[in-house]
Symmetry: C2
Subunit: 327 residues, 2 copies
């Protein structure tokens, strides 16, 4: 099987680090490029974290481009140090990779890769969608050129995590998200509905810390910080698995129980709904009848808990997406 070429857009970030480690462990995907964007941290810091993680994983060959510092219409708000730590990875100090970033921007890299792998490239976006919106503006044919986009973001029927209805990646750049959802491509949205329902527990963190794999150990250390934030949300030391779940969905590595294709748009106004992903789920009582013209698949529920699969992949017990669908 030829691995699927994959462009990752991220704001690394603790759960971004988990997603990156997950993708690196998967032989079914080949990371051909990574772009950073401001979100959990600035695009510049996100690029450094990404490069350091790649070096630690022995993959300094994967190119990293720095993306947009500011959202489309507002200024970067400084990120979420209370969630991810001041350096974005929970205060964990990684060896400095020294690898150079690409000269091109993240949006330019995405457009270049889309042209290099026409019809094949999968886009996985786990930060604000600023770079993707810039890429759509640079290359309006992008939707035809790529195989599809999977994004971590939004909240369909559960509360948001920034406002009562807005999730962080969308809230950080609603205008960009609006453009990305409106573009004529197949979008798979992995919202809080499913990421908050799949949790890493303390036992998982301890297992990562006990690993001989330096990347797994670093992730375990980062999760110590991340868990402290989530203790206020869940009432115990644990964390949601936003970004790695989006990565696994992009690889078709997890079976989906409920994932209707529906009309979805982003509220980019200035009212209380700003940053909300408005998904038309009114068909929920009758199995979500087809909605002509809809092109956004909203992942609401998995068949099985995600944590065991994620741990298996991170600890090298199974490669991602190989037989995982029915594991």
């Amino acid at each position: 099987m030829t691995p699927t070429p994959l462009y990752l857009d991220c704001d690394t970030g603790i759960d971004d680090a988990l997603a990156l480690a997950y993708l690196l462990a998967s032989p079914s995907a080949e990371l051909v490029g990574i772009g950073s964007v401001s979100g959990n941290v600035s695009a510049a810091v996100g690029a450094v974290n990404t490069l350091d993680l790649l070096a630690l994983a022995g993959r300094p060959d994967i190119p990293v481009a720095v993306g947009a510092h500011d959202p489309l219409v507002r200024a970067f708000d400084g990120g979420a140090p209370h969630v991810h730590g001041a350096n974005g990875i929970g205060g964990v100090v990684l060896p400095t990779s020294g690898t150079a970033q690409m000269d091109e921007t993240a949006a330019e890299m995405l457009v270049r890769l889309a042209n290099e792998y026409p019809g094949e490239l999968k886009v996985v976006a786990i930060g604000p969608l600023t770079n993707i919106a810039h890429a759509l503006r640079l290359e309006p044919r992008l939707p035809e050129l790529v195989a599809g986009i999977t994004l971590m973001g939004g909240a369909a029927m559960v509360p948001g995590n920034i406002t009562p209805v807005a999730e962080a990646n969308i809230a950080n750049d609603p205008e960009a998200a609006r453009e990305v959802l409106a573009a004529p491509w197949n979008v798979t949205m992995v919202p809080l509905d499913v990421t908050m329902a799949n949790v890493l527990e303390e036992e998982h963190r301890l297992e990562l810390l006990a690993s001989e794999n330096p990347v797994a150990r670093a992730l375990g250390e980062m999760l110590g910080y991340y868990y402290r934030f989530y203790e206020g949300i869940f009432g115990r030391a644990c964390s949601a698995m936003h970004d790695p779940l989006a990565a696994a969905v992009a690889l078709d590595a997890v079976a989906l129980r409920t994932a209707p294709v529906v009309h979805a748009e982003v509220d980019a106004g200035n009212g209380p709904g700003r940053g909300q992903t408005v998904c038309d789920l009114r068909g929920m009582h009758v199995g979500y009848p087809e909605q002509p013209g809809a092109h956004c698949r909203v992942v609401l529920e998995l068949e099985q808990d995600f944590a065991p699969h994620l741990m298996d992949v991170l600890l090298g017990r199974v490669p991602a997406a190989i037989g995982a669908r029915n594991s």
Copy 2:
């Protein structure tokens, strides 16, 4: 026990008729006035339906005032004949009451009653909130004068029924709903989250049709029409119980399993969220911690299915709100 004086604001409407019949059967509440508002039907038609139902129930003494024809800023859209029938009560022809409507408007009636029963009057609003907003403008002290307001409306964590996020009563007059939720009184919101989860089935309709009570029989006939609409929603002949459930909640006649007091506001903008009730339910994983200043109780879940209680009351087997809480 002295019955609680109650003002009902309605757009009668099949489920409004159920709510009215439910309240009339309750000795714990005394309907001291009813206002009509445009929603399911025009305010004028709603008033006629209400008067005819009151006459059929032997209660032509209860005064009915016609309320606002148009929402605060837009024009009445003609109602929902596909849901409630052209006459609002599923095409059922009731004997004409001939009772005169009050000279005052519904808003004037509400303000008058609030002053007549200071600190005692309960407001139950089961239509768009236009009249209530007008009353707040007429008498800014209304929030201190009444004992509280219970409204059927909104959608907190489930889809809307007019747009992906907006429920009909709120969507019909978002500006009014915004003012009502912002006013400094205790609001109890009974949204689609709980009304769509409590359903009347075909067996209940047949039981109503077999009753010797003419009001119960008329309700059974109306439900035949209502069920046809809901067949598209639920995939079987049945219906949600929006308005009677709000009436029962107002009477404290049903036990609530989940009903947090949270910040809530209405999106009255012109984006995709227009008409949404934005409720801050982010504390859901830790039992909804107190939100200082919040004054909206959002009813999300009952302890028990509502249908048996409603049927008992409508068929005169038990009076509403007498021992029902723990039935």
